[in-house]
């Protein structure tokens, strides 16, 4: 980070996301009062942010690379149901369930990536297909095996401590996972060559391939990452709430995409940042939960989120053109 000037900060992809985050926090401080920033208030939105955030980063990376993944909507319940059926309904050890959960993520992610790379079908359509296919598979299998769509699971203390407990009674342990994976993503995306490859791929796939970047492999890996992340979040939720439902997860599709776009990722690919996605996720969670601290009806939060999304898209374009037109002052 050289020369930190206001100007250079404003050209960063996360600039808009940061301002948006500050604005919504200020808004809910004014209308909701300070409770919203007291420990229990913070927990309310941080919990939401962490669950979305773990999925939003890989989905955001896919968007930077020019792809989209909406199959996460059924990967979350898939992760929940696999662990609940294997270790709740049956008595397999949890570690075995975890391997199957992540393994299923690898398989679905690979299918998504493989189809996107080897057919000309847009990733929205491919993942729409796997979204329904996985949802149907999970529903069908759970009814077939357990006879219900909701399965309970009692995990041993160790696994609850690591994946699904409330720290201090209110903070979900998944928050720590979110912080940890965010740090790893920031390192790999912004400080190694792999990040460069993803941005190049989103800028121009053909040129990136000609420059020797393994675009096929990289795309498939990104799809695997997002499918595994969604399955992981689903698994953590099942361990936290001691039960799993087939239907939980579809709202995540919208929430994740909103967080990514509000986080400054340009829809056409090639521009964005991990920190921006984190800001976008927090912004979304604050609006989503902050409304409970105000006297407003909760329905208004959808209006705020909708307006925010549109504002973010417009702002992203502005910041993007500011970044593009930047030239050092003539001396």
């Amino acid at each position: 980070m050289s020369r930190l000037s206001i100007g250079s900060l404003f050209r960063r992809p996360e600039a808009g996301a940061f301002l948006g985050m500050v604005a919504v926090i200020a808004f809910f401080l004014i209308f909701g009062g300070i409770n919203f920033l007291k420990p229990s208030g913070i927990a309310s939105w941080l919990n939401v942010a962490a669950n979305i955030g773990i999925i939003a980063i890989p989905v955001g990376l896919l968007m930077i690379a020019g792809e989209l993944d909406i199959s996460i909507g059924s990967m979350i319940p898939a992760g929940s149901m696999i662990v609940a059926i294997m270790s709740g309904h049956y008595d397999f050890p949890i570690w075995m369930s975890i391997i199957v959960v992540l393994g299923f993520g690898v398989v679905v992610g690979f299918i998504n990536g493989f189809l996107v790379v080897h057919t000309a079908v847009p990733s929205l359509i491919v993942t729409l297909g796997t979204l329904f296919a996985v949802a149907g598979l999970v529903l069908g299998l759970s009814v077939l095996i357990t006879g219900t769509t909701s399965v309970s699971i009692k995990a041993p203390d160790f696994y609850k401590a690591v994946f699904g407990q409330f720290i201090g009674g209110t903070y979900q342990v998944i928050i720590l996972w979110w912080f940890a994976v965010t740090a790893v993503y920031i390192f790999y995306i912004h400080y190694t060559k792999y990040g460069n490859w993803i941005f190049a791929m989103g800028g121009d796939r053909e040129s990136a391939r000609n420059a020797g970047i393994p675009t096929t492999k990289l795309t498939i890996i990104l799809f695997i990452l997002s499918a595994c992340s969604a399955a992981f979040v689903g698994m953590c939720q099942a361990l936290l709430f001691n039960s799993a439902q087939v239907s939980a997860g579809m709202s995540y599709i919208f929430n994740v995409i909103i967080s990514v776009v509000v986080g400054g990722v340009v829809l056409t690919g090639g521009f964005g940042s991990v920190v921006g996605i984190v800001f976008g996720t927090i912004t979304f969670a604050v609006v989503n939960q902050g409304i409970y601290f105000t006297s407003f009806d909760r329905n208004w939060s959808s209006l705020i989120i909708g307006v925010m999304l549109l504002a973010a898209v417009l702002m992203n374009n502005t910041f993007r053109s500011m970044a593009l037109s930047y030239a050092p002052k003539k001396k």
Partner: protein, 262 residues
């Protein structure tokens, strides 16, 4: 005389039933600029795509340093030193100069899983490479490609090709859509690349630009070489007519004859 860097021998290219190139034979030498001229649809882009590995010739052969070569991908051609710069040069408008310069070959420091991208080094080398070509206005490797002018982008792309050891530089209409000053910039860089011993293939619709840098000219009409001559062998008017004409081959030949006799 040493063998040409790159040579085409009787190359034909058809797309199914459509014959685009007929019996093209051309030689490209080190330190020379070959100007490829011709009307729209004459087959210029197809010809260079055949040279840089995008298309395979239907018939005929490509030779490098006198030995026959086949490129199955653009990457293979690049590895052998054939660099292509398409119109608008930098293709990653939202990436920084340093990052796009090194796409795919990023300099790193550190070890194992903690190898980090060496931004300072990348920026320094990229800026030096461009400045070496006389583009002194580019002095910050963190600037985005999209913020550069068209000429600067072309120059950056050419500097990049030279930096990574290109021997043959293919430029498809690098001066199209550029103003007079910007075009002059690019032409200067083409000359600099030539001075460094690269064989340059330069496609343009502008005779002035061709005359400014060309050593050797080939005019394509309907996929065939209608004229092949060296600098000074034809006047500007003759070249202009060659480029503009070509309703039919015979028509054109009569025209050329007429000029030559006059």
């Amino acid at each position: 005389m040493t063998s040409p860097v790159l040579e085409l021998r009787s190359v034909d290219k058809s797309f199914g039933p459509i014959d685009v190139l007929h019996d093209i034979s051309l030689k490209m030498n080190e330190g020379e600029v070959l100007c490829l001229l011709g009307d729209n649809g004459a087959g210029k882009s197809t010809l260079i795509k055949t040279l840089c590995g995008v298309h395979k010739p239907t018939r005929g052969s490509i030779l490098m340093d006198g030995a026959e070569v086949t490129f199955s991908t653009p990457r293979e051609a690049q590895d052998k030193g054939i660099a292509t710069v398409h119109q608008f040069g930098g293709t990653f408008p939202l990436m920084s100069i340093g990052r796009s310069f090194f796409v795919g070959v990023e300099p790193t420091k550190g070890w194992g899983p903690f190898k980090i991208y060496d931004r300072k080094k990348a920026n320094k080398i990229a800026v030096e490479a461009v400045q070496n070509f006389g583009i002194t206005r580019v002095d910050d490797g963190d600037r985005l490609i999209g913020g550069l002018s068209g000429g600067e982008r072309q120059s950056l792309a050419i500097a990049r090709a030279v930096h990574f050891g290109a021997r043959v530089l293919i430029l498809d209409e690098p001066t199209a859509a550029l103003g007079v000053k910007q075009a002059a910039h690019v032409l200067r860089i083409v000359n600099e690349a030539k001075r460094r011993g690269l064989a340059v293939i330069f496609i343009t619709h502008q005779v002035m630009h061709a005359m400014a840098v060309g050593d050797h000219f080939a005019v394509l009409i309907r996929g065939a070489i209608a004229a092949d001559f060296r600098k000074g062998e034809r006047s500007r008017e003759e070249i202009t007519d060659l480029m503009a004409g070509g309703e039919t081959m015979a028509d054109l030949e009569r025209q050329i004859e007429g000029y030559a006799d006059a």
